[in-house]
Symmetry: C2
Subunit: 603 residues, 2 copies
């Protein structure tokens, strides 16, 4: 069974050396508490909690699953105790507003907390993760009274929250939502309808659950423009924030799923439950989507978490398992056979995982910088810039990293051979758990449409061109190249990166031209365009990491083997992962005819 | 829940029109019974059995799993009844020697039977599948007395068989086998040791189980050259084939696995069990591997079976599920939204599955022609030629089709969105079940080494060059191109196919040169080389299918929409799947340095 070990060295390499969080945090007045010492202390404490409390109940949680009986859900053994420690540690409010009991620390730091928790036990992390979605919605769109009523307990963690969007007939296409909200005399609404796939919709971890629910007012316009947002507490809340009667929002069942079995996925039946309008009438979808990017970035993490687990386990196994001899001669003649890590194909699988997990983590942390700007930027201009960049990077991170996280988990399992298929080792759970990540919070196809249709086409490529310019100017930056003592070494990254980034720009123009002639080009090109974009973004991250490693080696500081490993992994990425863009770029320029010419009856 | 429907039209298209089995069978004296009418009747009967008996217990079998208690294994509800019908139908002996109770029908027909059974219920199919491995071993290497003792009951299906290779410390590297065989006074041997991962190792379907076991004689040479093969029955067998006392080969436990849960994977403890040497001393591995190719081809089927299931289910869902509108304008304005099959990215996923399942089936049936030659060829020369071609195609089919079957299953699930993650729909079971296929019977990495190291390098590329010549002469064949009324239409397949086949030949030479300088090149290039080879082989199949479809359309025979669908799918394959070889060919020519330069400690 896999025991998670937080990769503190890799995390600190990114935040201290590559992205220089200290300097970044200094530009936010509200982040004055986020000193390097404070950040370090939080990382250490969080690692301890995740390694000692969450990781040990990950496999047992999968085996036991959640139990449903008479409307109640029981989480697996140990979950309640671990959640209580989470509340006691004040973890839920880490990056939340101090006015409602939070610690006001950076969003990017919250992401690192989520990463560690998610690697140790993704199912567990779902409960506080969903709460955060509800908290963000209430703080942005709620009245002051709503904030005072719900946020302190949510921030404390003694209450939790959910996001109730999906219904049986619609997930992506929320314009089909049928749940009704009928005004009561007291200004509240009676909510009636059935919601499915509600993560953390019912459980035994908290005293109360605050549901954020999409529903239709009477006579609301049809489609997406007639949906409003409501707060529906499991227990109604009195004037002094005390719990009153049970609201008729009942859990009808929980889903029997492929994975994340310790996370309760509820069917919730609202039977005239008392709800409170939040945000303007009929603007529910806009309100719900304010934090869509941050929620999706949180899901992107799942790919990195699963890849980290797969890599940690399969690396240990590859060093331990003895099988066959190296084709280039025995490497461990004293053993009955060589450990499988000597075999080139096993190394290919390990390095693929390593390149993905470290490159993926860099993508998340880099994107986190813009989440900081979006949420805590001091001026509207900073917040807007943060939102724009976040909006561009999020669909890439969400779809690309969850797809690659699945690939890594699959390779991790493959390294174990037949043993990977046996539950005992934890590799198959890791694969089952991560599989949800490219489905929920918008499938890979939906992320790809968001990227190409909305973030690129609607914007006429402006945001993406800005990002490409950033990469190109990085490649020309004298401090990276000419003045760098490692100028020549960096060229093997900078030269192809500049070339590919320039091509990226050209492809956008060509796709835009093609779309004008055929709207189906958007959907036909979207997923390949997204994957292509992901590989270039990750190449940018690997160039930055290699540059930092060269500088550190030059300075003779720290663990030189660690930095050499970074450079070798960067080279692997450029030599063996980046070439995947050849196929993606060809496919994304292929005519939609190859998809559209077949009739529905000919399938 | 998915209900399997045997794709008889697609099967008959391949055997009647593309590969012309009737003519092929006529060249075997022993296949005189395999008349078209007989073949048709068998297909229909088999389809009925699979659809009505095996498919309905597939999902319940997964849910219930096998139960282990006090050394006994109980298969899930309905398995015993379905197995009895299998025995009554005489299915086990379909392609087996008439001398021992079989029907002597072609191997290729047996493959189609296995395909239908495997699609309907892969776990169920494991039991008779393993028996066939034991039967093949006994008929080839056993004494006449051993054949008379074991084969009639095995062929009948009232006894079953296993292959006991793996031990805890070794799967791939069988030279590490430790199980001991000590001579008894009566000419038998006392077998002692522990075997793991024994499919069908213990169950309640048959009266007796005949284990074929790898073990070491006293003073045998170490490594692979000191392993012998033994027959170890669960119940010893008397002179009149009656069951005697229980042999001390006991099931210690069964594995808790990711999938194929209705197939019992046993730990077998041999505690001085009575065994009988089969084949020459110390030649056990060679004997065991006589039928390695046919066993692996049977496993390759699993990829096709899973892809078929995924495609059938996700196609129905894509036509039914209403979500969003086509970007190129509403297609079903009378509905609340368009069915998702209108969306280009959903079509991409459906067509990928369709291209894989139909192209994969063609690869299996094509390879089956050589299995016929190898096993039932009238002359040694035919048998040798069959073996050579089978040996070349098998690792490609096994690794490539199981990897693509996994991809298809994954895409099938993706089309369902979040619903795909819920057990009810059967899509996640399909993905869990197929995942084993690239692990057992030699992992993808092992198949790739077999292909590049053994079948290409050791052979100096001779067999592969013959296959490439076959493809090139197909491309130049006047009846395919110049004389063909569809000459121009076929060019879009023939031209790229000829180009890629010629490049394939060049790559082999270049890889051989590189391997001379660096032995690690074999392992570094192997998996990409195998996948590359798979895509070209499948392109050859799609060209043949398109050609046949054009001919049928020209003749105005049969279901013209069916043939048009084939041509459109072939075009999809060439436009959107085949381009994957760009990346694989680049990677397979990349220096092993990118894999080998990193030290073990730097991982």
């Amino acid at each position: 069974m896999h025991q998670y070990k937080a990769p503190i060295d890799n995390i600190k390499f990114l935040i201290d050396d590559v992205f220089k969080f200290e300097k970044h945090y200094a530009s936010f007045p509200s982040y004055e508490d986020a000193s390097p010492d404070m950040v370090d202390a939080i990382l250490q404490e969080c690692a301890k909690y995740c390694e000692n409390e969450l990781s040990p109940i990950n496999q047992s949680g999968d085996k036991e699953g959640c139990k449903f009986k008479d409307g109640d859900v029981t989480t697996p053994s140990g979950f309640k105790e671990a959640y209580n420690m989470y509340v006691e540690g004040g973890w839920q409010g880490l990056s939340f507003d101090t006015e409602y009991g939070g610690q006001g620390l950076p969003q990017s730091l919250g992401l690192i907390k989520s990463e560690m928790m998610g690697s140790a036990n993704w199912s567990f992390g779902m409960y506080p993760g969903l709460s955060l979605g509800a908290m963000n919605t209430i703080i942005t769109h709620g009245t002051e009274q709503q904030k005072q009523t719900y946020l302190p307990k949510l921030t404390e963690g003694t209450w939790s929250g959910t996001m109730c969007l999906t219904e049986a007939q619609c997930g992506t296409d929320l314009g089909q939502v049928r749940t009704k909200a009928v005004p009561n005399d007291d200004g509240s609404f009676a909510i009636t309808g059935s919601k499915i796939f509600i993560s953390a919709g019912e459980h035994d971890l908290t005293e109360n659950i605050i549901h954020i629910v999409l529903a239709r007012l009477p006579n609301a316009p049809s489609g997406t423009r007639g949906i409003s947002l409501f707060i529906v507490p499991k227990f109604n809340v009195g004037e002094n924030n005390e719990l009153l009667e049970r609201n008729p929002v009942l859990c009808g069942s929980i889903e029997d799923k492929m994975g994340i079995k310790a996370s309760a996925t509820a069917v919730l039946n609202f039977d005239g439950a008392k709800g409170f309008l939040i945000g303007p009438e009929n603007k529910g979808l806009e309100c719900m989507f304010t934090f869509m990017n941050t929620a999706r970035l949180g899901t992107a993490l799942q790919g990195v978490c699963a890849a980290e687990n797969a890599y940690q386990s399969s690396l240990a196994y590859a060093k331990d398992r003895l099988s066959m001899r190296s084709l280039s001669g025995k490497k461990y003649p004293e053993k009955v056979a060589d450990p499988i890590i000597v075999h080139p194909d096993v190394r290919r699988m390990l390095l693929t995982q390593k390149a993905i997990v470290e490159g993926g983590r860099a993508m998340i942390y880099y994107t986190g910088l813009f989440a900081d700007q979006f949420i805590n930027g001091a001026t509207e201009e900073v917040r807007q810039k943060g939102d724009d960049k976040l909006g561009l990077l999020t669909p890439i991170a969400k779809a690309f990293l969850t797809e690659l996280g699945f690939e890594s988990s699959n390779l991790g399992m493959q390294i174990f051979g037949g043993h990977g298929y046996i539950k005992e080792w934890g590799m198959e759970q890791n694969l089952r758990d991560v599989r949800i990540s490219s489905l929920y919070e918008g499938t890979t196809g939906i992320q790809a449409l968001d990227l190409l249709g909305r973030k690129v086409m609607l914007d006429r490529g402006k945001q993406l061109s800005l990002f490409i310019k950033e990469i190109l100017s990085y490649c020309k930056d004298k401090s990276v190249v000419s003045n760098n003592p490692h100028k020549k070494q960096m060229n093997k990254f900078i030269v192809p990166l500049a070339k590919e980034a320039a091509k990226w720009q050209l492809y956008i123009y060509r796709i835009m031209l093609k779309v004008r002639k055929d709207r189906d080009m958007v959907g036909a090109a979207s997923v390949d365009f997204l994957m292509y974009s992901g590989y270039i973004t990750m190449a940018y991250m690997w160039a930055k990491m290699a540059q930092t490693a060269y500088e550190k080696i030059e300075q003779g500081e720290g663990d030189l083997e660690f930095y050499r490993s970074k450079i070798k992994t960067a080279r692997f990425y450029y030599e063996r992962i980046l070439p995947r863009i050849d196929t993606h770029s060809k496919l994304m320029m292929t005519s939609p005819a190859s998809l559209m010419r077949i009739n529905e009856d000919q399938f």
